[in-house]
């Protein structure tokens, strides 16, 4: 089963973004990252209204075994955070590309991003 969703774009730091071209862009972490982290127990996100900068840390994600920085895949203003996910971070493991999304951004510019195929190849996987 593929751990990379074909319709998304990815940062090298394992965030995904989904943009329909109109509304804000949704940001999450890939299944590759969620699996590697283990069971996620705490996610610290930027606040709504905060400006994040592509390539810089904007939060952290903590599992039972480790803690990792979250890197902003895009530059822009945070318009919404997934409060249901913050309450129950296990949803990031269960559904990283769906209910486990992290936050939404009004994107000013994108950082360097990979296509799903490039991201899959970089992580030894296939689409």
């Amino acid at each position: 089963m593929s751990k990379v969703a074909a319709e998304l774009k990815y940062s090298a730091e394992h965030e995904w973004i989904a943009s329909d071209g109109a509304g804000p862009t949704t940001v999450g972490v890939s299944a590759v990252a969620a699996d590697a982290l283990g069971d996620i127990v705490y996610v610290d996100l930027p606040e709504v209204g905060a400006t994040i900068t592509a390539g810089e840390t904007c939060g952290e994600i903590e599992s039972t075994k480790s803690v990792s920085d979250l890197y902003a895949p895009v530059t822009g203003e945070v318009t919404e955070v997934n409060t249901a996910m913050v309450e129950d971070p296990a949803v990031v493991n269960a559904d990283p590309y769906g209910a486990g999304w992290l936050f939404k951004v009004a994107v000013a510019s994108e950082g360097p991003l990979l296509t799903a195929a490039e991201y899959a190849a970089a992580n030894g996987g296939e689409l």
Partner: protein, 378 residues
């Protein structure tokens, strides 16, 4: 040092782990299952039902001969000669400076025969040290680690699961087996060494057996255990379980740089033993100095006030000044708050002391609490 250079050792159960979809990690020179699916689910299974562990990376060293007891009294910090046949004892093997080379469990199998179980990463070192220290004693030291597997069943359902594989005539041997005791019993059609020991804070058993027989027993325990809620559990769950139970892990809390008195293991050291043992003079001097009581640092439990967990090597602060270091830490799956073990200066080690832990540049409040963090209801 006789460190193992290969990091690709596989236990006899490696194929079973692969079949079960385990993710692997290198531990003590072995490729071991870190988790099978969710380490949290595995943790909760052990607390609420049962978990099945492959511990075949642990060492097994047999000590045999008329002087076996006297020799272990000399080689280890505890008084092994006082252990009754059939019982086990937690002990330390120290160097001449009192530093901890390993923590281990020794099972007395007869008047003249013991099984000593060191940690995986230290097995070769311990076997070599024991062989060296045996000079002058009428006792032989045999490292059986490579040919011996160890399977643990841990959790409140462990006994019921095990009994399904034991002939009814021998059930009392199992139900009557005390904590830290071992017995030979028929399991899955073979006479095997069964110990009521563990590293999880739950009731449970550890079964020693030849490598060739391990896969069949693993499969049988899985089959019989599944209806009881048993699932295979990896090292991630093992670590979170032992941390909740306040048990030290060699390499985190214990090392040659530390000693028993700082680690809260003073009672494990038998200075009252009439005979000499390796490290005795140094440990007597350390105890006399008040280390871990009136001076130096002491191992304590920390409970997080917030949600963020302390991790190994993070600094412990009091009023901004460093007063200690975290050795293990993570969110406690059972208790729902962060827990950690840390060495802190004795003047800040009192129960209820408010301290901070430097969580990547941000001071987060923690409180010194009694160990263990978790104790099962009996």
């Amino acid at each position: 040092m006789t460190e193992k250079s290969q990091t690709e050792n596989h236990t006899a159960l490696y194929g079973e782990h692969e079949k079960a979809g385990a993710s692997f990690t290198d531990f003590g020179g072995w490729q071991m299952p870190l988790k099978y699916s969710s380490e949290l689910a595995e943790h909760h299974a052990v607390r609420n039902a049962a978990g099945l562990f492959d511990l075949s990376h642990m060492g097994e060293v047999w000590v045999d001969g008329p002087d076996a007891a006297a020799f272990l009294d000399y080689a280890l910090a505890g008084k092994l000669s006082a252990v009754a046949v059939g019982k086990a004892k937690y002990s330390l093997i120290c160097n001449a400076d009192g530093g901890i080379v390993d923590d281990l469990i020794s099972y007395r199998r007869s008047e003249t025969n013991y099984l000593v179980v060191p940690n995986a990463g230290n097995a070769a070192t311990v076997a070599a040290l024991l062989a060296e220290r045996a000079a002058g004693f009428d006792a032989t030291v045999r490292d059986a680690s490579a040919e011996t597997s160890l399977i643990a069943v841990q959790g409140p359902e462990a006994e019921a699961i095990l009994l399904t594989l034991v002939p009814e005539a021998q059930h009392e041997l199992v139900t009557g087996l005390k904590y830290y005791a071992a017995v030979e019993v028929g399991i899955n059609g073979q006479q095997l060494l069964l110990a009521r020991t563990g590293y999880t804070g739950e009731d449970g058993f550890e079964i020693y057996l030849p490598n060739a027989d391990a896969p069949a027993l693993w499969q049988a325990l899985l089959e019989k255990g599944t209806p009881h809620g048993l699932i295979p559990a990896g090292l991630a769950a093992r670590d979170s379980l032992r941390l909740e139970a306040g048990m030290p892990l060699y390499g985190n809390e214990l090392s040659t740089e530390g000693h028993a008195y700082s680690a809260g293991l003073g009672p494990v050291v038998s200075l009252a033993k009439e005979s000499d043992f390796v490290g005795k003079a140094a440990l007597a001097a350390i105890k006399e100095s008040g280390a871990g009581v009136t001076t130096g640092r002491k191992l304590v439990g920390l409970k997080g006030v917030g949600r963020r967990a302390a991790r190994g090597h993070y600094s412990v602060l009091k009023d901004g000044a460093t007063i200690g270091e975290v050795t293990s830490g993570q969110p406690s799956p059972t208790l729902g708050y962060p827990v950690a073990l840390a060495y802190v200066d004795v003047e800040h080690a009192g129960l209820g002391t408010q301290v901070d832990v430097d969580l990547r540049g941000k001071a987060e409040p923690f409180e010194v609490v009694a160990l263990p963090f978790y104790k099962r209801q009996k």
